[in-house]
């Protein structure tokens, strides 16, 4: 496989910005399988980076490495000045500053919406309950479902659940938000409500890395699009670049399938 893959592409953040995530020479294996190959990526504060690529290309694994849900074997990952090493303190520090939204929502079914959101602020940030609830309600309001606070996740629709998940991540006050295919498990008619929230978030200046196939979202708020295939970054460019003039054959083949 490696003999056919060309040299990796660097995905450096535009000069002049302040890099909040820096990934250098990242390599990761699942057993013998080489999932991530020589990833070089940096993201500036306030930037929205959209990662696309066929399934199995390693894009989810890449962003899961950023908050250490996956352990990397080679290379450096630095988030907001903290390098991810085997030090539990560093890992906790990074996780506190990065929010993550999952494809399958992963709300805690035994807790109410409000408890889902306030759990981490109270336990990790040591906020008072009233303060945590106030912030939680602020973000619930922001994602448009203030009336669902005392319900259980099982009583909400998929779109509502994903918006709760976003509010849950935001209440911790993260500096970076990671989205792992946030709309892939949703019914088509509710995808819009989740994307709206994400667009609003991007426009407020949140640093975001979004793994998604929603090219509309990429075009609207994406600063850069990264195309990955077979564990490598194949092509980097603005959304317009990808829509109008993709360079690589693999990119063209992929885009022709999803657009």
């Amino acid at each position: 496989m490696s003999n056919v893959t060309p040299a990796p592409v660097r995905a450096d953040a535009p000069a002049g910005g302040q890099a909040i995530i820096t990934i250098e020479g990242l390599n990761k294996w699942f057993g013998d399988f080489h999932v991530l190959r020589d990833i070089n990526l940096s993201v500036n504060q306030g930037e929205v980076v959209v990662v696309i690529g066929p399934s199995g290309s390693g894009k989810s694994t890449l962003i899961r490495c950023i908050n250490h849900l996956e352990e990397h074997q080679e290379g450096r990952i630095v988030v907001d000045g903290t390098e991810l090493t085997d030090d539990v303190r560093n890992i906790d520090l990074v996780r506190r500053e990065t929010g993550m939204v999952f494809q399958s929502f992963n709300l805690f079914p035994h807790l109410t919406v409000l408890e889902n959101i306030t759990l981490a602020p109270i336990r990790v940030r040591k906020w008072k309950r009233t303060q945590a609830e106030e912030r939680a309600r602020f973000f619930l309001d922001k994602v448009g479902i203030p009336e669902q606070a005392l319900k259980y996740p099982g009583q909400l629709s998929g779109g509502q659940q994903q918006r709760v998940a976003i509010a849950r991540a935001l209440t911790m006050g993260p500096k970076v938000m990671l989205f792992d295919e946030p709309t892939s498990a949703l019914d088509p008619e509710v995808i819009g409500e989740v994307l709206e929230v994400m667009v609003a978030l991007a426009q407020e200046g949140m640093t975001m890395i979004v793994v998604t196939h929603e090219m509309g979202f990429a075009r609207e708020v994406g600063d850069r699009v990264i195309f990955m295939d077979a564990g490598q970054i194949v092509e980097v460019g603005s959304p317009e670049h990808f829509f109008l003039a993709p360079r690589e054959a693999r990119t063209k083949a992929f885009l022709s399938k999803i657009l």
Binding site: L69, R96, F102, N106, F108, H110, L119, E133, M172
Partner: protein, 606 residues
């Protein structure tokens, strides 16, 4: 409407033997008839057979004298009590083993289940071995193992029990530990307890209502529980305020025998008559200014054909006496033989030895006479005790026991001092006084006012435990086997439950910055609990039913006693029915309570 239109035109033409409705009813009628017939045949046959064999088929024998001695009785019982009471003891003993067994098995099971998923290889392997080993050995074998291979041979004899921290004693008789018992004052506390329970119920209902209406979450439990504790605590204080003893409360104590009975002098004649009821759990103090205890050296530990000479006085602890002096009963003879005393536990235990190597201290081996390889047996020792004072809580039968004392000064005490006394807490312990006059033995026995509860501590005055809560080795063996066996199954269930919680739950919690332990206790475990509960309930029921293997450990629970009752009365069918009913009752009670818990825990879905 469409259905109603079509039906009448078709229905009248079906013959009844092809009509689904008629077939259904007919089948049920036939089925019930067959069952009824079977029951009638069975019952009449059984009754006839029992009648012919002249065996009781009713329950009239329940009231006759049982005459069954039972070692472990949670409520007062003598062999003179009727059969129903013997069976009740058995039932309570079953509850005692099932109730405690279920709690312990759950705790160990959860720990083992969690350990099986540990990232540490050693921890994981230990848990795996624990589960695989214990799950695959039959329970009966395990009971026999714990009883005959561990608990009978390994703990020290009762005359030399191990004292564990907290006043807990372990020996081959069993485990004894301090326990709180209700006194005669307990009745005054009951109203407060009732109010406290009511406060919890009403408080929780009120807080629930509040929680439903309030926009903000309300903590339901803390306030009502706090109120209940305050009410119960205040009630305890109020109930303790009355420091008078109940009318006619008296103690009949014979100091020479070291025992007495607390009773209530109903007829007021100042003497304990047969109509005066005993008073359990009264608090007493026995004080003796000066008295003596005697003991002979005994050769009780034997190993490798060598018999050692140890002595032991009834267990007196340093805190019981102001001063204690142990000396030879016949100092002249002891001096002639060169005997000396070495304490292993001052002042009640030690060995008699001859200082052959002349180092002035006891060296192992010196307690044995090299000529005979036996100890210096039969040497009489006298312990003179000054300022003995012991606080004794009467047991369930009103019994108060102390070591048996004798009047002091009957024997000339000697100049032989302990050669070495590492446990001396009284400074110089050498006895030099020589007295020939006898001091008459006077005991000051006092009944003390008590609060609603009294702490009964364990004493070992003779070769048995007194006071506290006592568990026999039979009970411990059965409990250990049931708990360990069941915990292996619960461990596997817990492991499965934890693994059944979606992986994303753990990841989401970690991504939010929760630590590994927070993730487990706040997110994974609460969800695993919901998955685990139904199979665990069935393990609880298994444990309860498996307690009927008690005969293997000689523990007198329901099955054991029922078997004896059946042998004595021949009432095989009634006893079997009682047994079935009792086990069903326990199982249903368990299932009822835990199913409610299960429903309450269920996740809210759309």
């Amino acid at each position: 409407m469409a259905v109603a239109d079509r039906r009448p035109s078709v229905a009248p033409r079906i013959p009844f033997w092809r009509n689904v409705n008629t077939i259904g009813i007919l089948a049920q009628v036939v089925f019930v008839a067959v069952i009824l017939f079977g029951v009638v045949v069975l019952v009449t046959n059984t009754l006839n057979a029992l009648g012919r064999a002249n065996l009781p088929a009713d329950f009239s024998w329940l009231g006759s004298r049982a005459g069954i001695p039972i070692a472990e009785t949670p409520i007062p019982y003598t062999p003179n009590d009727p059969y129903w009471r013997a069976l009740l003891i058995g039932f309570l003993n079953t509850l005692k083993i099932a109730g405690i067994g279920v709690v312990l098995a759950s705790l160990i099971g959860i720990a083992v289940g969690v350990m099986r998923l540990a990232s540490n290889w050693l921890v994981r392997s230990i848990a795996t071995v624990y589960i695989e080993l214990l799950r695959n050995i039959p329970l009966a074998v395990q009971i026999v193992f714990w009883y005959t291979a561990v608990l009978l041979p390994i703990p020290p004899r009762i005359n030399n029990p191990v004292e564990l921290p907290g006043g807990v004693y372990l020996s081959n008789v069993g485990l004894a530990f301090p326990f709180l018992y209700p006194t005669y004052r307990f009745g005054a506390w009951i109203p407060f307890l009732v109010v406290a329970v009511a406060a919890v119920v009403i408080g929780v209902l009120w807080r629930r209502r509040l929680a439903r209406r309030s926009e903000r979450p309300v903590r339901v439990w803390p306030l009502p529980l706090l109120a209940a504790v305050a009410i119960a605590g205040g009630g305890y204080y109020v109930a303790s305020l009355d420091r008078t003893l109940p009318d006619g409360l008296a103690i009949d104590f014979t100091i020479d025998r070291g025992r007495g009975v607390v009773y209530r002098d109903v007829d007021g004649d100042g003497v304990r008559g047969p109509r005066d009821p005993v008073m359990p759990f009264a608090s007493t103090i026995v004080r003796i200014a000066e008295a003596e205890l005697t003991a002979s050296t005994q050769n009780i530990t034997e190993s490798g054909g060598v018999v050692r000479s140890t002595f032991r006085f009834p267990m007196i602890l340093g805190r019981d006496v102001e001063q204690a002096v142990v000396a030879f009963g016949d100092p002249d003879e002891a001096a002639e033989r060169g005997l000396e005393i070495h304490f292993t536990r001052f002042p009640s235990r030690g060995v008699v030895f001859v200082d052959r190597d002349g180092d002035g201290a006891f060296t192992p081996g010196e307690e044995i006479d090299p000529a005979t390889l036996t100890g210096f047996g039969g040497v009489r020792l006298v312990m003179t005790v000054f300022g003995y004072e012991r606080h004794i809580v009467a047991d369930r039968d009103g019994q108060v026991r102390t070591p048996a004392f004798s009047p002091s000064g009957t024997v000339r005490s000697a100049e032989v001092a302990p050669a070495e006394n590492p446990f001396s807490v009284f400074g110089a312990a050498a006895a030099t006084a020589t007295r020939d006059d006898v001091v008459p033995l006077v005991a000051d026995v006092e009944l003390r006012p008590a609060g609603p509860l009294v702490l009964s501590r364990v004493h070992v005055p003779v070769s048995s435990y007194e006071g506290g809560m006592r568990l026999t080795v039979n009970y411990l063996a059965l409990l250990l086997a049931l708990v360990i066996y069941t915990s292996a199954f619960i461990g596997e269930i817990v492991r499965g439950g934890i693994q059944a919680v979606a992986k994303g739950q753990r990841e989401a919690a970690l991504a939010l910055g929760l630590s590994a332990s927070q993730t487990f206790s706040l997110v994974v475990f609460p969800q695993a609990l919901r998955i685990v509960l139904p199979p665990v309930i069935s393990q609880y029921l298994n444990l309860t039913k498996n307690s009927s293997l008690a005969p293997l450990a000689g523990y007198g629970e329901l099955f054991v006693i029922a078997t004896i009752v059946q042998n004595q009365t021949g009432a095989s069918v009634p006893v079997a029915l009682l047994l079935i009913a009792s086990y069903l009752f326990i199982s249903f009670a368990f299932a009822f309570v835990l199913n409610i818990v299960n429903d309450r825990l269920a996740l809210v879905e759309r």
